[in-house]
């Protein structure tokens, strides 16, 4: 089967650090942190009282009040990121065959805010006081559906749920849809708004979260010896993917090529990563082979790097398995150090940052990496960004359930 080439032409983000792509990139490279005290609910009785929260959220200028009320926070994030990405791509869907344009957006959890709000009403007021919008708001595919409605896109449309790998899987599936001729244009990415009492309590009870309440901006410490878990964050990112010739024909600005996608499962434990790194190494290897690049060509890996004690070692081992000695020559970084962990949106935000690393020929830093861990001995680009050729770069995402997804981007060869 003939494989078509796929490029990234539009980016949109909603994060704790910024809602604008250029501004986000600059802040990431300056080493700013988006982590702070939780204000969306009273967390004073919780063991974890900080997160990567999207402050002062508003959909003004994007959605009418009525539209916004029908969407859970996670879906609002996706809509705003999607509208910005389309604007950035400069694409006019009126000029496209709507059946050749689709949407695949991931989320780990979906409308958790809505679930909690309506469950409270159910218990306190009874079944006849539960909102009629409960189901269309909470469903994990709401973002993909709403984006298709907003833009009138009738091509392939679905949500992907693989916990923290959701967005990377979504992007991979959207990539395949274009590559194998099902669509010319795909909106893809991920969205998450699990910063709720249940979200924080649930992850905290797993002992998955950092409890560094006194120093929120220093809490997300991927690959650092003193890391103590991830920092929960919320937000979304959407990328516009297009078939190369389609993008060229309309004179689109091309950020980078999406060249490879690899996926695998640990088939081990539902939450604990395999220390050998075997599962993720298979996804990485498949992505590299799929992209048709040699391991030695890899310049940068945007790591999953959540800052859990076990996960960072497993990923380090996985990278070594795939790249051998080259693992020590390429740059790795975890932008979760600035943003925290956006769960099912993390792969989308990190895909955006990986694309920008190629676009700007700069590797963003891992902040808070102050004390090296002997078990994590790669070049994680600590504290300062590095100017270097970035022609081929990979973004990794691993999710509870043992899901692994890797995406390989490359500078477009002209």
């Amino acid at each position: 089967m003939q494989r078509r080439r796929v490029v990234v032409t539009g980016l949109g983000v909603v994060t704790s650090l910024s809602r604008q792509v250029d501004d986000l990139w600059q802040r990431i490279c300056r080493g700013e942190s988006g982590i702070g005290p939780i204000t969306v609910f009273d967390a004073s009785q919780f063991p974890v009282r900080f997160a990567g929260e999207v402050r002062n959220w508003s959909t003004e200028g994007y959605l009418s009040n009525k539209e916004a009320r029908r969407l859970d926070r996670f879906c609002q994030f996706a809509m705003v990121a999607g509208i910005d990405a389309v604007r950035d791509a400069g694409i006019d869907f009126q000029q496209c065959d709507s059946y050749r344009c689709g949407v695949i957006v991931g989320s780990g959890i979906g409308g958790l805010n809505e679930i909690e709000t309506q469950h409270e009403r159910l218990l306190t007021k009874g079944p006849e006081r539960v909102s009629a919008f409960t189901i269309p708001k909470l469903m994990v595919n709401a973002a993909a559906g709403q984006l298709s409605i907003h833009f009138g896109l009738r091509g392939p449309n679905a949500a992907v749920a693989s916990a923290c790998a959701s967005a990377s899987h979504a992007i991979g599936e959207a990539f395949q849809a274009i590559r194998y001729g099902e669509a010319e244009v795909m909106l893809t990415g991920g969205s998450e708004a699990a910063l709720t009492p249940m979200g924080i309590a649930g992850f905290a009870q797993m002992r998955a979260l950092s409890e560094r309440n006194d120093e929120p901006t220093r809490a997300s410490r991927p690959f650092d010896k003193d890391r103590d878990g991830f920092v929960l964050a919320e937000g979304a990112a959407v990328l516009v993917l297009e078939e190369l010739e389609f993008a060229r024909a309309r004179g689109a600005r091309i950020y980078a090529e999406l060249a490879g996608y690899g996926a695998s499962a640990d088939a081990g434990h539902i939450t604990q990563p395999d220390q050998s790194g075997q599962g993720p190494s298979h996804a990485m290897l498949r992505a590299i082979q799929d992209a048709g690049v040699a391991p030695e060509q890899m310049d940068y890996i945007n790591a999953h790097g959540t800052a859990t004690p076990l996960g960072d070692v497993a990923e380090t081992n996985a990278i070594k398995r795939v790249f051998g000695q080259h693992a020590y020559r390429l740059n790795v970084s975890s932008t979760k150090s600035q943003l925290g962990h956006l769960l099912g949106a993390s792969g989308a935000v990190e895909a955006v940052l990986t694309v920008l690393a190629i676009h700007h020929q700069t590797v963003p830093p891992t902040i808070n990496l102050e004390t090296p861990d002997p078990d994590c001995d790669l070049n994680y680009t600590p504290l300062e960004p590095v100017k270097r050729p970035v022609r081929v770069a990979m973004s990794n995402s691993f999710g509870f359930g043992g899901h692994n997804a890797s995406l390989v981007f490359r500078a477009l060869e002209t």
């Binding site: 009525k66 029908r70 006849e128 006081r129 909102s131 009629a132 919008f133 269309p136």
Partner: protein, 79 residues
């Protein structure tokens, strides 16, 4: 206008995100204000809460205009 009428129109304006001055007794929820079946469930639920009335499902289906909603509430509120 009495206060029930005022209040019902305020709620409709809020729930359906419609300009308050365009809402009169003959305004049709679906044709004029673009409401769908989910909006109608929400609206009726809100009116039930505000006025302490219970609107059974078959009555909900018959309430299609602002005037019909006001009339129903006037007949059933406080009863």
């Amino acid at each position: 206008m009495d206060s029930i009428e005022e209040k019902v129109k305020d709620i409709i304006a809020q729930e359906l995100d419609a300009p308050r001055d365009q809402i009169n007794d003959s305004t049709h929820f679906i044709n004029d204000l673009g409401a769908d079946s989910l909006d109608m469930v929400e609206l009726v639920m809100r009116l039930e809460e505000e006025f302490g009335v219970h609107v059974p499902e078959d009555a909900t289906d018959k309430i299609q205009t602002v005037g019909e909603a006001i009339e129903y509430i006037k007949q059933h509120a406080g009863s």
